[in-house]
């Protein structure tokens, strides 16, 4: 019952808001905040009750849904899904509090959309049934479409459609792949089932495994987003309202990597091992390309958006290194990225609320009228570029260790991205916070109490994970070992030379 409650609590809040609180902004805003805080508290409660030593899924619920196809309402979490659920619930609460007064038009619909979106995101991480997963995965396209399209920036309509079509295109291919694996299993001696855990035991082989892997991988790569299917991201992140950007960057991108873990690796470990080199190459391109693009962005939000492409490149590289450090670092870096980029978007939102511009050239010297904001901003910027003592460093370090063990050349390439990230972030910070303050910005108000409270949990997390990541990594040990156990049989036969690896991957098609 706990996970059902966790998944549908936001919808209950939505129902209350729609029935009782129409036309009373303070009431429904409070209700939205209370719901999301309760949700976060519930997620923390689950984490405390969670047994990190136990392998497999916990808090499992299973009820038959569509009997003829073996589809069930099946929920459960392991350490990876739990830590991402924590991130989701926390960022949603923060997004609601942080953009309390930013939305003035159709406010009720905005908060309703955010809470519906939360249900979708938690549902994706908690589903253990492929059909259920797909339902949650797709359902959240609709609220996100409206969040970008209704309350976004000047090019919001274009960005909203682009976001929708890109993701939808990927996920419908995934749907066909899902059907294909289900029927393959049914015709090769298994039951007709959409149960993820059952299908992970199926041992898909042959050309089906390759094509289905490709379909799943493309769907998730679009969401991550990996180079070269990242082009929806800068538009969507830039045009979305602050809360939308926080959720998009903080949570939605992680669903892509999460899907890779569950499906690409869980269903097709053999193909996943063969795909290491292509994925590493794409990740390295994403890391460097995203960083290079960030360097030249004149728009603050676009800069942060491209930095996401770069940072998510780290995550995929770490995951496909297939060793303890790489996988744990990869998942932890997803949390770190959610915390830091979410915070950066929130800070940019605070600046935008006051200045109504996102262009870096219009900024300058904000440190003198807004010292508190500048201080917090500096913390998140430094975290993002990987300063030891803050969380970004821990994740990047683990990933580097993992990738280094796999292939030194990729570790070196990924390191270039770290250097570049220091470049674009510090340069951006210098141009916005330091230098001479333009006349018109001298009277800007510093952050208020609400705004500081909203980012406070992120500050705490950034420092906590930076100094003492143990509790978080504890959640990830067992799932990382599970992933490694899945790919272990195939890693040994995986050729060491790049050419051989390439041939083995593309030879299969």
């Amino acid at each position: 019952m706990m996970l059902t409650l966790l998944t549908f609590l936001p919808l209950a809040g939505v129902a209350l808001m729609l029935i009782f609180m129409r036309g009373r902004p303070s009431a429904y805003k409070t209700a939205a905040l209370v719901t999301s805080v309760f949700e976060a508290a519930l997620a923390i409660f689950l984490t405390i009750r969670f047994d990190t030593a136990q392998s497999g899924f916990q808090f499992v619920e299973k009820h038959v849904w569509i009997k003829s196809l073996g589809i069930s309402y099946h929920l459960g979490v392991d350490g990876i899904s739990l830590i991402l659920i924590l991130l989701t619930t926390l960022l949603t609460a923060i997004a609601i509090l942080g953009t309390w007064n930013s939305i003035t038009d159709r406010t009720l619909a905005f908060f309703v959309s955010l809470l519906v979106l939360e249900t979708g995101m938690v549902g994706v991480f908690a589903s253990l049934d492929m059909f259920l997963f797909y339902v949650f995965w797709e359902v959240q396209l609709v609220p996100m479409y409206f969040i970008i399209g209704l309350w976004g920036g000047p090019k919001r309509v274009y960005a909203a459609i682009k976001f929708f079509l890109y993701t939808f295109a990927g996920s419908v291919l995934m749907l066909v792949a899902m059907l294909a694996v289900v029927w393959w299993y049914a015709k090769h001696g298994g039951p007709v089932t959409f149960d993820i855990l059952e299908l992970q035991k199926a041992g898909f082989q042959g050309s089906l495994a390759l094509w289905a892997f490709a379909a799943f991988f493309i769907a998730f790569a679009i969401k991550v987003p990996m180079f070269p299917v990242h082009t929806w991201l800068p538009d969507a992140h830039t045009e979305a309202p602050t809360a939308g950007s926080v959720i998009l960057a903080g949570v939605l991108l992680k669903m892509g990597v999460y899907g890779m873990i569950r499906f690409c690796i869980g269903f097709f470990p053999e193909v996943a091992v063969k795909a290491i080199v292509p994925v590493m190459i794409l990740s390295a391109i994403a890391v460097i390309y995203g960083a290079a693009m960030s360097l030249v962005q004149p728009d603050l939000k676009r800069l942060v958006a491209y930095s996401s492409v770069s940072h998510m490149g780290f995550v995929t590289a770490g995951l496909f290194a297939f060793n303890q450090q790489g996988i744990e670092g990869s998942v932890l870096q997803m949390v770190n990225h959610g915390v830091l980029t979410g915070a950066l978007f929130l800070m940019v939102g605070y600046f935008y609320d006051r200045m109504h511009t996102r262009m870096i050239k219009d900024y300058g010297g904000l440190a003198s009228p807004m010292p508190v904001a500048a201080g917090l901003f500096s913390l998140f910027v430094l975290g993002s570029l990987g300063l030891p003592g803050l969380n970004g460093f821990v994740g990047e370090f683990l990933i580097m260790v993992g990738v280094f063990q796999y292939a030194k050349v990729f570790a070196a390439l990924v390191a270039v991205g770290i250097v570049l990230s220091a470049g674009y972030l510090l340069w951006m910070y210098q141009r916005t916070m330091f230098q001479k303050t333009p006349e018109r910005w001298l009277s800007l108000k510093d952050l208020g109490a609400r705004e500081i409270i909203a980012v406070a949990p992120l500050v705490i997390l950034a420092v906590w994970i930076g100094i003492f990541p143990g509790p978080f990594l504890d959640l990830l040990h067992v799932p990382a070992q599970t992933i490694m156990a899945q790919v272990q049989p195939y890693l040994a036969e995986h050729g060491a030379s790049l050419v051989g690896a390439f041939a083995s991957f593309f030879g299969g098609f």
């Binding site: 569509i66 797909y134 939808f168 419908v172 066909v176």
Partner: protein, 497 residues
């Protein structure tokens, strides 16, 4: 005819009684005086007839009869479609009065014609003989031609009817030609009896007789392809839908289309078992063409009603993939998905057209269904905008709605048959469809209107009832689809008993 045969067509007899009553009632209505004639009683009679027919049909669920010398069947298959047609027609009737009042053409024969068309559709699904199938199609079609021309003083309405009539007659002639070949080859017109003979004659390559069988099969297929508006036999569809009164366009897009699909499935499974591979390929080609044509043309439409007409062609394409998979695999399993889809499609498409009918009734003079009139609808009439959004999202195939369940089952069957590449074509084209459906949503919510115009009254009465039923059904099928699947499995089971 024996007394027991009456039971087989009892739902149709109920409809016939109601339709005749409607014609009589209209004849005795006083016209020419001042003040409007209240026709609520007629709406009530039509609804009662439809619901009674659905109720009688449901009461017969589980009965197995073959009557009138094997021409008409009463089984779960027939009941399934009879209920579906009656519900679809009832929703159409509910959304009509306001629309017809706004156009000052509220006449009783409208409802009588709808009922006659439903009788034809019922018999199309229940027919087990080509001659009866032909007669049923004609009954349905002639009523449809008249309904399309219901606004007889409008050029567009006349154009719609005439196009429908000419192409419809053409299709009927082709179908008849195919039936005459069947008769020539087998000496009979019953599905199963002639099917057994045709199967023994073989298919393509089995000499002259084999070629004849293939010809007969192809001609019947083409005749019915006209009726489901499959490309390249779809040209009449956009004009007929656009010119016809909107509730009637809604009705055309779901009722006769579903009836034609039921006829295709029954006729081809039973009468052409020997050429199963051939008709599989034929429908495969048709389905790809239809999906392409429907989606690509819908993409460039500025008129929402016309866009929905093309989108209905696209949906016919998705449905045909299920038929193709049935023939390809030689197994009826994919056909079940087609039936689920037909139910889902009935509710979501009726709903979408219904919202258009409501808007037209509110602004009869200005509103011409072009996109610009949808701008700002989210503010002016939030309920209509939200309902239309639900229907469009369902047509797109987003989970949580009936449209997704339909696509899921149809493409599930297609992949099951090994045609995964066909499913890929289908889903990729539904991404294309997302663009034109969402464009309407975008106009409603993200654009401000160019000029001020407002709806006069909120959704009420029969229209509200019709739209809410459609919306609730759309979401309910999306969330709990198992009962529908069970019903479909029951219905399909009896086709091969």
């Amino acid at each position: 005819m024996q007394a027991a045969d009456v039971l087989t067509v009892l739902p149709e007899l109920v409809l016939l009684a109601a339709a005749c009553a409607l014609v009589l009632m209209e004849a005795f209505v006083k016209t020419g005086g001042e003040g409007r004639v209240d026709r609520t009683a007629m709406v009530a009679v039509a609804l009662t007839g439809l619901l009674a027919s659905a109720g009688v049909a449901l009461g017969l669920w589980g009965e197995e009869r073959l009557s009138f010398s094997g021409m008409v069947v009463l089984d779960k298959w027939a009941v399934f479609f009879k209920v579906l047609f009656a519900v679809g027609a009832a929703l159409t009737v509910l959304m009509s009065p306001g629309y017809l009042e706004a156009h000052q053409r509220h006449l009783g024969e409208y409802y009588a014609l709808v009922l006659f068309a439903v009788i034809g559709m019922d018999l199309m699904a229940a027919a087990r003989d080509f001659i009866l199938l032909y007669v049923a199609i004609e009954l349905m079609a002639i009523s449809s031609y008249l309904l399309a021309a219901f606004f007889r003083y409008r050029v567009r309405s006349n154009e719609a009817s005439l196009k429908y009539l000419v192409t419809g007659s053409f299709a009927s002639a082709i179908l008849l030609y195919g039936v005459s070949l069947v008769y020539g080859l087998t000496g009979g017109t019953g599905y199963e009896s002639s099917g057994a003979v045709l199967a023994s004659l073989g298919g393509v390559g089995a000499g002259a007789n084999g070629t004849g069988v293939a010809f007969a099969m192809a001609l019947v297929a083409i005749g019915l392809a006209f009726k489901v508006s499959a490309a390249p036999f779809h040209m009449w569809t956009p004009d007929a839908y656009q010119g016809a009164p909107t509730p009637i366009a809604a009705f055309f897009s779901v009722g006769p289309k579903a009836a034609a699909f039921s006829a295709i499935m029954a006729a081809f499974i039973l009468a052409f078992p020997g050429t199963v591979g051939e008709w599989g390929v034929l429908f495969l080609v048709l389905s790809i063409l239809t999906m392409l044509v429907g989606n690509v043309y819908a993409l460039v439409q500025k008129n929402v009603k016309r866009m929905l007409a093309y989108s209905s062609i696209a949906h016919a394409g998705y449905l045909l993939t299920g038929i193709a998979a049935m023939g390809w695999s030689g197994n009826s399993y994919p056909g079940r998905g087609v039936m689920v889809y037909l139910v889902a499609y009935t509710f979501m498409n009726l709903g979408a057209f219904g919202v258009l009918a409501y808007l037209k009734a509110q602004m009869p003079d200005k509103f011409d269904y072009s996109l610009k009139y949808f701008a700002g609808l989210g503010r002016r009439s939030p309920l209509a905008a939200i309902l239309l959004t639900v229907f469009l999202i369902s047509l797109t195939g987003i989970p949580g709605t009936a449209g997704f369940i339909g696509k899921f089952y149809v493409f599930g069957g297609v992949v099951w048959a090994g045609l995964w590449w066909l499913a890929v074509i289908g889903v990729v084209l539904s991404v294309v469809s997302a663009y034109y459906y969402l464009r309407v949503v975008m106009y409603m919510f993200f654009r401000e209107p160019e000029e001020e115009y407002s709806v006069r009254e909120s959704i009420s009465g029969g229209m509200a009832c019709s739209l809410w039923v459609s919306a609730v059904a759309t979401v309910a099928i999306g969330v709990v689809p198992s009962w529908l699947w069970d019903a479909v499995v029951g219905a399909f089971g009896t086709l091969f008993s």
